[in-house]
Amino acid sequence: MKLSTYNFLTSMAIKGVKVGFPLKLTINKKEEVESEFNPTFIERLLPKLDWAAIYGAAQVAELADDIPPTQPENIGENELLLQKLHHLLFEIDVLEGQLECPETGRIFPITDGIPNMLLNEDEV
């Protein structure tokens, strides 16, 4: 799972959960992959990013030095930051780990890079 996907995932599907975001990320094993840098796509993605969640993920992925804690203005003109964002969002592949619902504490395991969001009968 790439961290861009992590930015979109919620546990809202669980019964009684209001927001379910951001999920608490734990990384046991990760891998760096290569992906083509597309600045316009990242720029279009910016309004959809939750900066606090991204910063949290960067801390877990040990890349917190690259990302400022609060969202700076005019990111579009800051090519270097865009590249760092691209690296964080699209080139870090979480292979093993888990996601934890902030409201219920329900754990969603990540195995072989696939997060398991399946719920049990009593959670639907």
Binding site: K2, F8, T10, A13, K48, L118, E121, V124
Partner: protein, 276 residues
């Protein structure tokens, strides 16, 4: 008619390792899946500006439809209930991320995430109650409401699916409308048993005209009648009497007979003015 896979087992069990392997080796399955994904992408009607968009692939399986999205330079995230299929997707190193999840439990995404959604041969699975606590109507509604919220307000969602009967079509479309979607069904090649394909085209931002189906009956009928009329005219073979064509043909015949005939000019068969 062949037995429907939905009747044999729930999707997470039906698509086991053996079945999943077919989707990476069987060229016929691959060809059909890719063709349907291409049509679905066309029906999505994304703005034609060469920009990458974020697309959700529901029931992505081994990522065959995802490769079609990749070819058009779109980013995608896939969701499927079969671990075996997703393992194949990871093995194939598809560019999109895949998530293990059940459509009927809702889409686990933030509001306004995706610029569009496609789904190939997945929706019919939702019409069955595979577990004792499943209620197809409720699961469909939950699916469509959560999908509606995770799409942007100009997005479309296109589902290719195999409805079993008209009741299923009615059930699916009514739940989609209840969730706030506009749109309807596009049936490609309705007169062919094999090529016939159902596409449910759903729109979030107000009612718009549905795209044209391929091989629709109106189109064919129009073409047929034009052909028929032309054929009738040809069969009669003669131009209307006193017309220029008729006179030219008559003069040509006289010439062939060796009779004295005035040459053809721009005045031939021209109407006299009213003064005469």
């Amino acid at each position: 008619m062949a037995r429907r896979p939905e009747h044999s087992a729930p999707p997470e069990i039906f698509y086991n390792d053996d079945e999943a392997k077919k989707y990476s080796t069987n060229t016929r399955i691959i060809e059909i899946q890719v063709e349907m994904a291409e049509r679905a992408l066309e029906l999505l009607a994304l703005p034609d500006d060469d920009e990458s968009r974020l697309i959700l692939d529901i029931g992505c399986g081994s990522g065959l439809s995802g490769s079609v999205l990749e070819d058009s330079d779109h980013m995608w995230i896939g969701i499927d209930i079969s671990k075996s299929m997703l393992d194949i997707a990871v093995e194939r190193e598809v560019a999109g991320d895949v998530i293990l999840g059940d459509m009927g439990e809702g889409m686990p995404f933030k509001p306004g995430t995706f610029d569009g959604a496609i789904s190939i041969s997945a929706l019919q699975w939702l019409c069955n109650a595979d577990k004792s606590y499943h209620n197809p109507h409720k699961r469909l509604l939950k699916f469509f409401t959560t999908l509606f919220s995770c799409l942007t307000r100009t997005a479309r969602a296109v589902f290719q699916f195999y409805p079993e009967n008209s009741d299923q079509i009615e059930m699916v479309t009514s739940q989609a409308m209840k969730a706030g979607f506009y749109g309807g069904l596009v049936v490609d090649y309705p007169n062919s048993a094999k090529a016939k394909k159902y596409y449910l085209v759903l729109m979030t931002g107000g009612a718009a005209e549905l795209p044209k189906a391929l091989g629709s009956p109106e189109e064919e009928r129009r073409v047929n009648y034009i052909k028929k009329r032309d054929a009738c005219r040809e069969a009669r073979g003669k131009a209307p009497k006193k017309s220029r064509d008729w006179i030219l043909a008559k003069k040509e015949r006289r010439r062939r007979q060796g009779l004295e005939t005035r040459p053809d000019t721009k005045y031939t068969a021209r109407k006299r003015s009213g003064r005469f």
